[in-house]
């Protein structure tokens, strides 16, 4: 809010410079964003905390200044030069809905002459960013900025029946507001009406029909207190935000109603001429009660560590208008003033004292330590995973948690999210901010595909990314939605090497698989299993299901399918994997345990067989393991070969088998015998040939 320095000085007599004021007010909680030097004044842009509507005026700020400089506020006067006649003889006020309007006061000034405002008034308003209109309208605006009470001036002659009725609108009722917009009202909107129709939106804006014009001679000055929620809801529904609504929404001062009206009437008589009525019609059926708070002065020390003398506490409370009496030396009874709607309890009083005594006087020490720190149990594992993927050349991506609705049915989700009813499987936002992005992501893949798209659009064709993050799905039982951590990897383009312009080869399926395996190994979990599977978003024949060692499915890995590739306009092969990280982290860590080193030598035998292309290495290894050949310590891949000299439907696989005994050195004949048996059984089982 813009505050005139000169105005502030008139109200407080402060001798602080604008820059000194900036510093001092900032340190009591009224941050000043900017000080603009004007011709003969300075304008302070004050940031008012949302709980301090009392500061939305010059007097409000002046109250704080007076406490800061230990001075006195010089409030403006409020007595019209001439008054005659009783308001009740000339008009009437009826509040039909006191729940939304606890207080309404009306007073008349007759015989005014509407004209432009005098120069000083126009200038003062312009300095704080207000546009002068005419003398009467400007005076209501001036008093609003001086005392914080929104006022409205009606042309009495244009009020049907010369009366005021405060009531809820009837649904569909119409009102053309001062900004020239015809508005259709709802049944819960509070209006000021005359005998027949609405003439103003209560606490927000007046109506055009009853506006002050050059012909106006009799004005009715409205000063009222409206229910903050009612004003907020109406303003929001109608998309309006005015100086008046802003103050009523946050809470005006119900006891300021008559004072502001007096001040306004005084200024009208002085500037626009005319005679005020002797009194106001003040309808205030049930005055708002004052709050009384028990305050223990020792709490200042125990909450803030500040040692504040009682006399200083009392000075601050008094300066802020907080009445206080000592019930005992340990407990005071405090009554905050009507404008301080934010002060409700002891802690609020502690803050008032602390901020005026000075936050800068609070000491600085670490709390005594009696607890040991700890990371989240899984964080250190995830750190290893991240570092491993990084070392293997993947960059870490972070995407928004919301995605577009469209790709839902094209992607296979992690097993935990396989739902019966896809219609209600996902968490949807009621009010997305980015168009179409209304789905809480059930998978990380769309985000990574978008990131990939972004990079390709910028001419980067080799991209490897990973992301860890929360994914979401509705739960079946009507409980809170499921949230799980997922890990996803994506890769395309060349297998880049450090400091080389050209990748020696293209990235492929096995790069991504290797990265995933390395990351899981870094977390010291049992190795994953991969089985050929049909996965919705992956290319047939190049897709795998990822399983835990015990067969629990975790996710999928493979070459991105053509349909989804096309949807993202990806014209090169893309490899993608996603798995349920929460599930993976639940798996027990592998124990690390010492095994004695072998005492007898091992012997290896290589074996190359020609098998059908559909037979996987996994099957062969599984078979070898299952055979439990004596002293066979396992088999590992040497290589595969397909192409020239080999029938199209077959391929050669070379395995290395290790034989070793813990009791003795094996004899050559024994090894030959066992190896022969193993070969024979493989050849039989897979209709294979030795190659």
């Amino acid at each position: 809010m813009l505050i005139s320095y000169n105005w502030l000085r008139e109200l407080t007599g402060t001798i602080l410079s604008p820059l000194e004021l900036r510093e001092r007010l900032t340190m009591v909680g009224l941050a000043i964003d900017a000080v603009e030097e004007k011709e003969s004044d300075a304008v302070l842009d004050v940031e008012i905390p949302s709980n301090r509507p009392d500061c939305l005026s010059h007097v409000g700020i002046a109250r704080e200044v007076a406490v800061v400089v230990s001075g006195k506020l010089r409030p403006p006067s409020g007595k019209p030069a001439r008054s005659e006649g009783r308001s009740t003889d000339l008009t009437s006020v009826e509040i039909r809905d006191p729940d939304l309007c606890p207080r309404y006061a009306a007073r008349l000034v007759r015989g005014v002459r509407i004209s432009p405002s005098p120069a000083w008034l126009a200038k003062r308003l312009e300095e704080i960013g207000q546009r002068p209109i005419n003398n009467v309208a400007d005076i209501t605006n001036y008093v609003l900025h001086e005392l914080g009470q929104p006022l409205h001036a009606f042309d009495l002659a244009k009020l049907g029946g010369q009366r005021i009725v405060v009531r809820r609108a009837t649904a569909g009722e119409k009102l053309k507001t001062l900004d020239g917009v015809e508005r259709t009202l709802g049944a819960n909107m509070l209006v000021i009406a005359d005998a027949e129709r609405p003439v103003a939106l209560a606490g927000i804006m007046g109506g055009e029909d009853s506006e002050i014009s050059i012909q106006t001679t009799e004005v009715l000055i409205e000063s009222a207190y409206f229910n903050p929620d009612s004003v907020r809801q109406t303003a929001r529904k109608l998309g309006m935000d005015t100086e008046a609504s802003r103050r009523f929404e946050r809470g005006a001062d119900c006891e300021n109603v008559l004072r502001a009206q007096n001040r306004c009437v005084e200024l009208i008589c002085e500037i626009a001429g005319g005679v005020a009525t002797e009194d106001a019609i003040d309808v205030y059926p049930s005055p708002l009660p004052a709050r009384s708070i028990s305050f223990r002065p020792c709490r200042v020390d125990s909450l803030t560590s500040l040692r504040v003398a009682e006399t200083e506490m009392k000075r601050i409370l008094t300066g802020l208008g907080i009445a206080h009496t000592e019930e005992s030396s340990a407990v005071w009874k405090c009554v905050p003033p009507s404008w301080r709607i934010d002060i409700e309890r002891e802690e609020d009083l502690v803050e008032e004292i602390a901020r005026h005594f000075g936050y800068d006087k609070i000491g600085s020490e670490l709390p005594p330590s009696n607890q040991s720190g700890e990371h989240q149990p899984k964080e250190l594992k995830i750190r290893k995973l991240r570092r491993t993927l990084q070392a293997l050349g993947l960059d870490e991506a972070i995407n928004f948690s919301f995605i577009e609705l469209a790709p839902d049915n094209q992607l296979e989700l992690i097993p935990e999210f396989h739902a019966q009813d896809p219609e209600h499987a996902f968490v949807t936002l009621k009010n997305p901010i980015i168009e179409h992005q209304g789905r809480m992501r059930p998978t990380l893949i769309p985000g990574l595909l978008n990131s990939l798209r972004h990079n390709l659009n910028h001419g980067i064709r080799s991209v490897r990314l990973f992301e860890t993050g929360r994914i979401f799905a509705e739960s079946d039982s009507g409980e809170l939605p499921k949230e799980r951590e997922a890990l996803a990897l994506i890769a395309t383009g060349g297998a880049l090497e450090a400091n080389r312009a050209q990748a020696p080869r293209e990235t492929d399926f096995y790069d991504l698989k290797g990265s995933l395996e390395a990351a899981v190994a870094a977390m010291n979990r049992a190795s994953l299993r991969f089985t050929k599977a049909h996965v919705k978003h992956l290319r047939e024949g190049q897709s795998a299901r990822i399983l835990l060692a015990d067969g629990t499915p975790l996710g999928s890995l493979g070459t991105l399918g053509e349909r989804i590739s096309d949807a993202y306009k990806l014209r090169q092969l893309v490899y993608v994997a996603e798995l349920d990280l929460s599930r993976l982290l639940d798996v027990e860590e592998l124990p690390v345990q010492y095994k004695p080193l072998p005492r007898y030598p091992s012997v290896v035998r290589d074996l190359t067989i020609l098998v059908d292309r559909q037979i996987t290495l996994g099957e062969l290894l599984h078979t070898i393991e299952g055979r439990q050949v004596d002293d066979c310590r396992g088999a590992q891949l040497v290589g595969t070969y397909e192409g020239a000299n080999i029938p199209e439907d077959r391929r050669a696989i070379t395995l290395r088998i290790e034989y070793r005994s813990d009791e003795r050195t094996l004899l050559n004949e024994e090894i030959e015998d066992r190896h022969r048996g193993l070969i024979d059984s493989l050849l039989r089982q897979y209709s294979a040939q030795l190659h």
Binding site: R236, P367, G393, D395, F400, M440, H454, L496, N499
Partner: protein, 368 residues
């Protein structure tokens, strides 16, 4: 023939052998000058010369060499001339050995250096390794913050991102009519749940679970309905801290925040507290720190104020403690919070924080 040779005078035979050597050795003579460098000799040629030299040695010093035969014919020398003859043979043999060895040494060293030349590698070629990846700057900073607080005795906590109104607002003492609750500011699901708008929600869960005393921080994603622009994102990362114990005061809050900022921005960093308002704390304070770039004299980063605003804090409101089941007559506590994204933006002088979630490789590559 052998007969006629054997008839020749052995001394003459020795001299003839010596002459024959000198003649054959001529082509190697250039390898015997220790001061002259060997010029214009490729490694291959030098190796064949070395081989030829070895053959020469066999021919002139081997068991079947002329000199060896001469030695055997000493019987034919008159007894009085034998001593002189023996000396002559030894002298000539020594001359031949010395010439060959000189040449061998020289050739060998030439070959060695030529081989080093040929086999030398360009050590400035790049080492063989995959291009390394990069962690996201938010992750890097979050890990650093977590480590600092673990060292200060805090537990790291996290919880749900989709929350009930109770955890997101009620328990945090956010009034029913507070603008933060409006669908203008907070995301809601079609089932009426909120995307958490601050990680303070985690504090409530943690206090309910752990009870008091408690010391924890909650780093994580939060959501607010801001349209993306250079200074806003609808999702960002935040750290909220909480310390509840007997006798906790604002001095402890100030000390903790100041310690954090010194560890982040250097030991000379000064922290400033300003009164402010948050529904979940009372008294409340915003904290600023002295600009790490200019040290307080004013620059672009601190908008010439010398101070950088970072976050909010205060003493936990009794309503919040009550909602979390903590006895607020016995315990008091402080809480603070700030944006990780904002800190990343400050530290790296980002001019557009939307970059944080575009995952442009050229952006990510800059952090480590």
């Amino acid at each position: 023939m052998a007969e006629s040779q054997s008839q020749e005078d052995p001394t003459t035979q020795v001299e003839a052998a010596s002459k024959a050597f000198e003649h054959e050795f001529e082509r190697f003579a250039r390898f015997t000058d220790p001061s002259a460098a060997v010029q214009g000799l490729t490694l291959d040629w030098a190796e064949s010369e070395q081989h030829a030299l070895a053959q020469l040695r066999t021919r002139h010093l081997g068991k079947k060499s002329a000199l060896a035969i001469c030695k055997k014919s000493i019987g034919r020398v008159a007894p009085e001339g034998r001593a002189a003859f023996g000396q002559l043979v030894q002298r000539r043999e020594a001359e031949i050995i010395s010439a060959i060895e000189q040449a061998e040494t020289k050739l060998k060293s030439h070959i060695q250096s030529a081989r080093i030349q040929r086999e030398s590698i360009d050590v400035s070629l790049p080492g063989r390794r995959p291009r390394s990846g990069h962690l996201h700057p938010i992750t890097l900073l979050r890990e650093r913050l977590e480590d600092i607080f673990v060292a200060l005795g805090y537990a790291i906590e996290d919880d749900r991102e989709i929350e009930t109104d109770f955890y997101n607002f009620d328990a945090l003492n956010i009034p029913q009519n507070h603008p933060a609750r409006a669908s203008q500011d907070t995301f809601y699901t079609t089932n009426g749940l909120a995307l958490r708008s601050q990680t303070s929600t985690v504090q409530i869960h943690a206090m309910q679970r752990r009870g008091a005393p408690v010391r924890m921080i909650a780093p994580g994603r939060v959501f607010r309905r801001d349209t993306p622009d250079p200074t806003h994102n609808p999702m960002f990362f935040q750290v909220e801290g909480l310390c509840v114990d007997r006798g906790i005061t604002m001095a402890h809050l100030k000390g903790t925040v100041a310690e954090l900022l010194r560890r982040m921005f250097g030991s000379r960093t000064v922290t400033r507290f300003r009164p402010s308002y948050f529904p979940f704390t009372e008294p409340s304070a915003e904290f600023d720190f002295s600009c790490f770039k200019c040290g307080g004299s004013g620059c672009r980063i601190c908008k010439n104020s010398g101070w950088i605003e970072l976050g909010g804090s205060g003493m936990v409101h009794p309503h919040v403690l009550r909602a979390a089941g903590v006895d607020f007559d016995e315990f008091s506590g402080f809480a603070f919070g700030f944006g990780i994204d904002r800190m990343v933006g400050l530290m790296y002088e980002l001019d557009d924080i939307r970059l944080l979630f575009e995952n442009d490789v050229r952006f990510l590559e800059q952090f480590d």
